[in-house]
Amino acid sequence: MKRDDLYTLLCILIIVGLFPWLAGGNQYFISLLIFMGINGIIVMGLGMLMGYAGQISLGHAAFFGIGAYSSGILTAKYAFHPAQAFFIGVLLSAIIAFLVGKPTLRLKGHYMAVATLGFGEVLFIIFNELSPLTGGPSGLSGIPPLTLLGNPIEGTIYLYLVWGFLLLLLLFSLNVINSRVGRALRAIHGSELAANAMGVDASSYKLQVFILSATYASMAGSLYAHFVTFISPSSFSFMFSILLLMMVVVGGAETIWGSLLGAMLLTLLPEYLRGLEDFEVLAYGAILMVVLLFMPQGILEGVRNLFSGKIRVGVL
């Protein structure tokens, strides 16, 4: 693994490890970091799809929801073991991603974007309408928290659990990126025509990374469900899909670190705007616009370039 990546990984490990002590045990800050971790997991997958393979998904909240509802419903209503529910969620997401991805990834640019948007909306409607199963608009409550040796996992331990997952998935993702698969994905982004001509089965790889990103979102969904113990469709709306997209774009789609940075920053955003509820949507739109117009490669690259004096005309 590249040395820079290893150092960054270790830094994250240390910061997260020390965080509960740094935060003085403040549960609010700890949950904030947990949410950052959960979003970070989704965004790593989405970042690989968008930044490396160059595709777009405006419906990833759906996979987050599939994971959350799978874990939620199976553990709350059918007494499944959380690990079983977790894997069923991942499997379900993978299958749906395969079925949806196959016809959708064939489409060009705009059509793909709208198809994923439509897919996300359809799932949102399903979450709302299948009330007997999902609890409908009023949500699903009573999701059992995870337990370790009979004690519920919450707070600091949950923080370590979520970030432990994140770091493992990060390692996996970095390995994929720095391998022949990662180069194949970037080749597809660079020139799908040439990639195919050099023997890269572009359709297959696009589908694979789409499925992978769906499973990441599902895993995050399961972790989310057991943390908040109450879920409702409003958390899986298209606004969340847009927020995820923003995390990738604002942070910087080109590297996985950029996407993670975006997840950190934009998880904080709703917190900053909590008092200014009227401004929330406006702020999202404004930030996205400003970044796209002035720093299209994302904040991570933008700041780096500022320091090295480069100015880039943006291409995502």
Partner: protein, 297 residues
Amino acid sequence: MTLTNQLIQFLFTGLTVGSIYALVALGFSMIYSSTAIINLAQGEFVMLGGLIMVFFTMVLKIPMVFGFALTVIGVTLVGALFERLAIHPLKKASLITLIIITLAGSILFRGVAMFLWGKDPYALPAFSGRSPVQFWGATIQYQIFWILGITVLVVFAIWFFFNRTLMGKAMAACAFNPLAARLVGINVRKMVLFSFGLSAAFGAIAGAIITPITLMEYDRGPLLALKGFAAAVLGGLGSGAGSIVAGFIIGILESLGAGLISSGYKDAIALVVLLIILWVKPSGLFGSAEESELKKF
């Protein structure tokens, strides 16, 4: 009510919402034709049309006719400004960036609307007439005639514009081959600006005429855009006639589905149509597959 009466009712409801989808679809087709961009903020033009009309007629108490005209002009300006400030500077950017910038625009518009009007729905009185009308056993709101009438007028105006005026033909030329268009002296920049303005106008008209029936709130945009886009694709992106026909088809399908099957999944009907069309025949009912292959995206 007998089944026939019910069906007539659904038909009229379907034609009503279908008009809106048709107008939104026209907006999509127009911008796509001249720029190969899908404007994801299209739905917001409709929303702004409705809410701004509410402002003019309910708050400023301006007579409806003037309110309507001012609304359309206002939203047209918004569309033009959007093109100037957000689309034009990014002309050279990648496809994904362009998609996202229109997305950002839609979020921004929604945010401004939420800021100015809050989250509540607003109502408009019908343009004329007071009580609903009985028509073949179905109860039809008077506004529906306005909606259908204005839609027909718009359709005729578009046909006239594109086929009988020089500017309209110039716009069509830009869509087909911007370089060639530029070489013969057509100002492509202006055309792009114009097409954004025009499709904003369509959206505003749609918003203004539907609000008396369905009310309007700040976040109506996205779903409308998706359904309008479904109609645009169904009819063949870039085909004005196709957009209109498809808009009505989807409206009627949705209305029949909501009435006969389930109203909870009503919105899903148009979306499923969208997905099926994109997955099976993205060139739409009236487009040719080869032609859409050749069109750049």
